[in-house]
Assembly symmetry: C2
């Protein structure tokens, strides 16, 4: 996948979002999938696996987005890996495709000193707290992710939020989305 | 899959829950998957596919529950199909495994006159309304489903609800679960 603000040029993009229970990891994946399929005209499959791994602590949500029907919904090598929890980082960091983008919450994840991948960091949880609550850190992360990768359009993600979330949450979700996008833009201009 | 209140004896059970946006279909699948994997000691994969189909109106949530790691998470032939919306019934009714159990919300689904499958009906939405709101029809349906099939234990589903839902929703969710289980039991004794 091309880095920077480009539409992914290959036809299938594998996205993994990793975190811990209560961070809205599954919801984040679902919003991304719905944005892609319902509003960007693509196909998307969201998968959550529960097993011995899930009993550990790290949770994950996988989204495969494609121009064609998705034959195989498991994420084998992520093109985009976003992590909001240290254990999710340590567990999933070795499953990246060449040229993948690894994004980490800068408050909750400390990348290894010998990490070979470029790690993009965003203070998603800190920004969320400033907006009113940690529960929107997942949306801040999504804003950053889509601005950096273009995997779905901002308009489609906004529509997915409007049609998925309860009315009383939409305002703060939109602020969180804006904040994530703006953080990515401020980096680009720095 | 054996009908009646038995543990499924084959190692993999494919469950599909079909409905329409706003019915909590994805949540129902997730609760089932978490109950199986986190509290029943099995493996579970939950999948939501979004595509041209999702743009139609019927939504679905697939859960594969197994004693072993799940190689293929798509539901090809459902062992259990629960539908809470007419279009979900018409769309998914032909994807049943031999001996499958088809469960329909009796208020929202009208089975075809020439339906060859035995259709189990439960007034999940009506029961939910009596409890205080349609939003728990999905939990009533789950109660009925687990009592009829034994695919996960009641205790595990209760734990999944307690650890997944917001505190203020747990009481009504538990009532909804009880109501679904009791409806199934009253049928069995009729």
């Amino acid at each position: 996948m091309a880095k920077g603000k480009n539409k992914a040029t290959n036809s299938t993009t594998q996205v993994r979002i990793g975190g811990v229970g209560g961070q809205g990891i599954v919801l984040a994946g679902r919003l991304l999938g719905r944005a892609a399929a319902l509003f960007d005209g693509k196909e998307a499959v969201c998968t959550q696996s529960y097993g011995p791994e899930a009993r550990g602590g790290a949770s994950r949500s996988d989204v495969v987005i494609s121009n064609q029907p998705v034959d195989y919904p498991y994420v084998l090598k992520a093109d985009i890996l976003a992590v909001l929890f240290q254990e999710a980082y340590t567990r999933f960091r070795d499953r990246l495709a060449p040229g993948a983008m690894l994004i980490a919450d800068s408050m909750l994840v400390q990348p290894f000193e010998d990490e070979e991948e470029d790690v993009y960091t965003v203070p998603a949880t800190q920004i969320a707290e400033e907006l009113g609550g940690r529960m929107v850190a997942n949306i801040v992360m999504l804003g950053y992710l889509i601005e950096k990768t273009g995997v779905v359009s901002r308009e489609s993600l906004e529509q997915a939020i409007r049609t998925s979330m309860k009315q009383q949450h939409i305002e703060i979700d939109m602020k969180a989305l804006d904040a994530g996008i703006n953080y990515a833009r401020s980096e680009a201009g720095a």
